[in-house]
């Protein structure tokens, strides 16, 4: 059950490359149990210039009401959040939406991440490890350069194999991580290994992952980001074009995780 509560910035940790982890302490309430891929709407004391809260995937949520998000300054809201100091107050609504399914122990989960799309996959890996499923989880993680690849230690600690790719070759293989993903799918096809793809990241990456998933006929789950206002199915702003009886579903209430074959992209 989502709820709305007030929280304060506890720490603002700079990961380099513009990435920041904000940890919050809830003042009463909290997110409670969160499924990887679920998100929260955050709004600071922004006055009237910025009206709407901003969506952030939950990086982790603790029973004591503490939770964290990973972000980068992008537009007006994220710039303010990145600059926020410990003690700064935010209003939080969450957890919202539907996340990824946990590994079923049969299929290997290939997590494909890019940029600030890491949190859902980071949380998925954390939870899989906690459930003893780390062995059926692998990470495919791409960025422009090595500064874009953050929190790698965590995956190592959980025993998750990580394949890295950077456009400039400064870490891992040179190029897009989707190339490595394709190789991996070819290999799985050959060996008959059952795999599924869970992905979150920039839209061009998701579009490529979607096509690959469809081509290899592998179950593929995309965690989408659409511009949101309310975050819980009221404004109808966050439409996602889909196939099926209705032309649109809603990122916030039907997603943010959608199956690739359902998404109506070119």
């Amino acid at each position: 059950m989502p709820s709305q509560f007030s929280a304060r910035v506890d720490t603002n940790r700079d990961l380099g490359g513009g990435y920041v982890v904000l940890e919050f302490a809830a003042e009463g309430g909290g997110l409670g149990d969160v499924v990887a891929g679920q998100f929260a709407m955050l709004r600071g004391d922004w006055g009237r210039e910025l009206l709407n809260p901003r969506a952030f995937s939950v990086l982790w949520s603790a029973p004591d009401g503490r939770f964290a998000v990973l972000l980068k300054a992008y537009g007006r809201g994220t710039t303010r959040l990145v600059a926020s100091q410990p003690g700064a107050r935010v209003t939080v609504t969450g957890p919202l939406g539907h996340g990824f399914a946990p590994p079923d122990g049969v299929r290997t989960q290939l997590l494909v991440a890019g940029g600030v799309g890491l949190p859902p996959l980071h949380l998925q890996a954390r939870q899989s490890a906690a459930r003893g499923h780390a062995g059926v989880t692998e990470l495919y993680y791409g960025g422009r350069n090595r500064d874009d690849l953050v929190m790698l230690d965590d995956f190592a600690a959980w025993g998750v194999r990580a394949v890295l790719a950077t456009e400039d070759g400064s870490a891992g293989i040179r190029g897009f991580v989707t190339a490595a993903l394709e190789e991996r799918l070819v290999e799985a096809q050959r060996s008959g290994e059952q795999v599924e793809i869970l992905s979150c990241g920039p839209t061009p990456m998701l579009a490529a992952v979607r096509k690959i998933g469809l081509r290899f006929e592998v179950p593929t789950w995309l965690c989408l980001e659409e511009e949101m206002a309310c975050g819980f199915g009221v404004c109808l702003g966050c439409a996602v074009p889909v196939h099926g009886p209705r032309p649109y579903l809603y990122c916030c209430s039907d997603g943010p995780v959608f199956e690739a074959k359902q998404v109506r992209w070119p």
Binding site: M1, P2, S3, Q4, R43, R48, E49, L50, L51, N52, P53, R76, T91, T93, E226, E227, M228, A229, C230, G231, F232, G233, V234, C235, L236, G237, C238, A239, V240, P241, R246, P247, Y248, S253
Partner: protein, 329 residues
């Protein structure tokens, strides 16, 4: 040189928030606005809906509609643009699936409606007439849809067309019809007068102002339909002006005000300008219980200013006192 009247503060609990919108009685003057509260259900997780004086539903058309391509929304300075495309479940499903829930709440249910053409408006009013006695208090007729195509613009901008449309809908239902006007006109009083003459029980002022935003990287509009409706605090001055114009020119006409209300003081401005009640729209997206916050703040601010009741301040604004005459020598 116009000093504030130093009025003694009163006890907040003693402030009488009751108001009347025409014949309709409301426990307090704050409703949730159409399109910003869906059919109420989603909010049940976050707040006690029964505490609301009332709400206006997402706009209902005779048949279900799926809405516009994306992107549908973007933020602007102190506002947002939307082009949802009036997606809704349709009148039949509304009556069967949404109204029973709303009726249970015991709040004033305003059903916002529209049609794709003249006949569809009348059909929708007729269909919704079935909701009389089933929990519908008001039909709020939206004649100001910037986001539907088919000549809909004339319903909201040509007084004679609005008059005919209102009359035709009034004729098929015994529910009071409050007509929601678009601010995208030169003469809002002419529009309000036209619908009042046709039997409207009141007017809702204002719907969104048509606007645009551009993504300079992609060289595309930020809204797929090119233009969208601007809402939020950015438009509050325009909304207040229109409420005041209509209240002054047509003193007998009941007005529900809206546009950028996020605080109790905002609501108070609208009431003083001449609105009998107000709706809170975009502010709901920041917090689902925005309307309740506005009520609490309104009560507190009224108490601070020594205002005992809403009814005594509806339309109370007076001009600034004239200046002292000039001695020119």
């Amino acid at each position: 040189m116009t000093a504030a009247p130093r009025t003694a503060a009163i006890d907040p609990a003693s402030v009488d928030l009751r108001t009347r919108m025409g014949a309709l009685e409301l426990g307090d003057p704050i409703l949730a606005a159409s399109g910003c509260f869906a059919y109420g259900q989603q909010f049940a997780d976050f707040m006690d809906l029964r505490r609301l004086a009332g709400l206006s539903t997402k706009g209902i058309s005779p048949k279900p509609r799926f809405g516009n391509p994306l992107p549908r929304i973007c933020e602007t300075a102190s506002g947002m643009l939307n082009s949802i495309g009036l997606e809704n479940v349709g009148a039949e499903a509304f009556l069967a699936e949404k109204l029973p829930f709303l009726r249970e709440l015991g709040v004033s249910v305003w059903v916002n409606f529209f049609g794709e053409d003249f006949a569809a408006y009348v059909e929708c009013a007729r269909l919704l007439e079935a909701g009389r006695g089933q929990g519908i208090a008001v039909l709020e007729m939206n004649i100001s849809c910037p986001n539907i195509k088919k000549g809909g613009i004339e319903f909201g901008t040509v007084p004679e067309v609005a008059h005919r449309l209102t009359r035709a809908c009034v004729d098929v239902t015994d529910l009071p019809i409050v007509v929601k006007l678009t601010p995208n006109v030169a003469d809002i009083v002419g529009m309000a007068d036209a619908v009042a003459q046709a039997g409207a029980a009141g007017v809702s002022l204002i719907n969104t102002i048509t606007g645009m935003a551009i993504d300079v990287r992609t060289r595309r509009p930020r809204i797929a339909t090119m233009y969208g409706g601007l809402s939020g605090p950015a438009i509050k001055p325009v909304a207040l002006r229109m409420v005041h114009q209509v209240a002054t020119a047509l003193p007998g006409l009941a007005i529900c005000g809206m546009g950028g209300i996020v605080s109790g003081e905002d609501a108070l401005e609208f009431i003083m300008a001449g609105a009998s009640c107000v709706q809170v729209g975009t502010a709901n997206f920041a917090r689902p219980d925005a309307a309740l916050v506005v009520v609490d703040e309104l009560r507190a601010r009224m108490a601070e200013l020594g205002i005992a009741s809403v009814s005594e301040i509806v339309g109370c604004i007076r001009p600034i006192a004239p200046e002292a005459p000039q001695v020119t020598e």
